[in-house]
Amino acid sequence: MSRLAERLAAGRFVVTAEVTTPVGADSAPLRRRLELYRGLVDAVNVTDNPSARVHMASWAGAIAVREANCEPVLQLTCRDRNRLALQSDVLGVAAFGVENVLCLTGDHPVRGDHPQALPVYDLDSLQELAMLRGLRDEGRLAGGGKVEPPPRLFLGAVENPFAAPQELRAWRLEKKVRAGAQFIQTQVVYDVAGLASFLEAVRRRDLQVPILAGVCPPKSARMLRYLAEKVPGIVVPPALLERMEKAADPRAEGIAVGAQIIRAVRQLEGVRGVHLSIVGWEEELPRVLEAAGLR
């Protein structure tokens, strides 16, 4: 059983953090970032060509995380792989002890660094979840063939609580759980009230799945504005933007904002942990966790 699964089962409030693999053929920068995370987080998500931009393979990053004695969450998008590649990648990482797999549809290439690319999307993220569940529970490939031994997997999915209409999101979350999702990581939360109302919609559907709220401490007002304007589905309350703009020390303010959001989401029923994106200033992770009362 994965450590993430164990800790969630034990009722612990878990912390996961994100690493982006390098754009280069050396894993040293990744290993340096992992040094900063070791012992502070329960698991490390390894992103998969984020924003449809080429990076070192997430499976290679996940194995590097294992080698660094951290627990990886492999992000695996349907954008770049058909059902053959999704299954073979999962069998490959499972052979190296990677158990947590986060199933994603993936940002469209048109917004990335190879807009001319042929997007795959053979499956969607729900079909990916259901397929990987079959691989694990029935020892069967999607095509019917036998898998010996089947991989041990703890399957996750994402949801964006802020992409209106919310009811459609709660409905899709329910389908993801039915398809096999055992934990959920959300889009970055700045609008805590918005998350609370999403969680209410989730509770109305009687879903027991552990939800880890996405938290991204803003490094600057500029970064926050970029997220608000350029990333679909991120909602930034104007008051927060103003607070960052007026801050004398934006980094310190960003850490305070991150910690404040963590403390707030922790109070919400259904939130069983946080997922931190602190890409580009990973060295501040201990301060954020400390300010949030988590370490």
């Binding site: 997007p119 053979d122 079909q127 397929m131 964006n160 679909p232």
Partner: protein, 222 residues
């Protein structure tokens, strides 16, 4: 219909550098309806080729002809004698027409004058939109008449992606999110069954990904 649009003239001109006698073959089918490759467009293109060649200082013959449908072997064959008079043919048919004309005279260069774009129709004057990807396994009966293959940029089967918001597509906010529309329409009809089920992976082997597709109708084959 098959919707097509004219190739940029410089691209076509590049392919015509060595031509002396050009036959511009229009088609009276879909491409005439979308005003890309019918009789009028064929005449205009022939004229443009003559003017361009004249400006280059080496005059070219360019003649326009049109058949009702280039995708009918008989009509394509009927162009054979006119093709013999030319050294290059520009087909203003869709890709099917270009291919059929090339089969009529395999030794001749048959160039595409259009970019064949999609299965679609006119939504307002001068605006054409895709409606069908011709995947060979129609699901419109279950999706409220809105196609998740042709109209969702990610071919999703189980609801909108996390990048769509307020009913707009992640790829282009000018475009409506197909899944938002499907969910709205089916909910309004009270047909939520398909929305609740987890749609299994699509069989893409009917979608052209299993090689060129062929239909044999025993009832029609003699």
């Amino acid at each position: 219909m098959i919707v097509a649009q004219a190739k940029p003239f410089p691209e076509l001109a590049q392919m015509l550098q060595d031509a002396r006698r050009v036959l511009v073959a229009g088609c009276g089918g879909c491409v005439a309806v979308c005003q890309a490759g019918g009789e009028q467009e064929a005449r205009i293109l022939a004229e443009a080729i003559r003017l361009w060649a004249g400006e280059q200082g080496r005059p070219m013959e360019a003649r326009a002809v049109v058949v009702p449908r280039q995708c009918e072997p008989e009509w394509a064959q009927s162009l054979g004698p006119a093709m013999d008079e030319a050294d290059v043919v520009v087909s203003l048919g869709c890709g099917v027409g270009v291919g059929f004309l090339a089969e009529v005279r395999p030794g001749m260069r048959v160039l595409p004058g259009l970019n064949t774009s999609f299965g679609g129709g006119t939504v307002s004057p001068g605006v054409f939109e895709e409606r069908c990807r011709m995947c060979g396994d129609c699901v419109l009966g279950r999706t409220g008449g809105i196609c998740p293959v042709a109209r969702c940029a990610k071919n999703l089967w189980n609801g909108p992606c996390g990048g769509s918001a307020d009913g707009r597509c992640e790829v282009d906010p000018q475009v409506s999110c197909a899944w938002h529309q499907i969910a709205q329409r089916l909910t309004a009809r009270g047909e939520t069954g398909f929305l609740e089920e987890i749609a299994p992976p699509k069989d893409w082997s009917t979608a052209g990904d299993g090689g060129p597709r062929r239909i044999v109708r025993e009832d029609l084959a003699s």
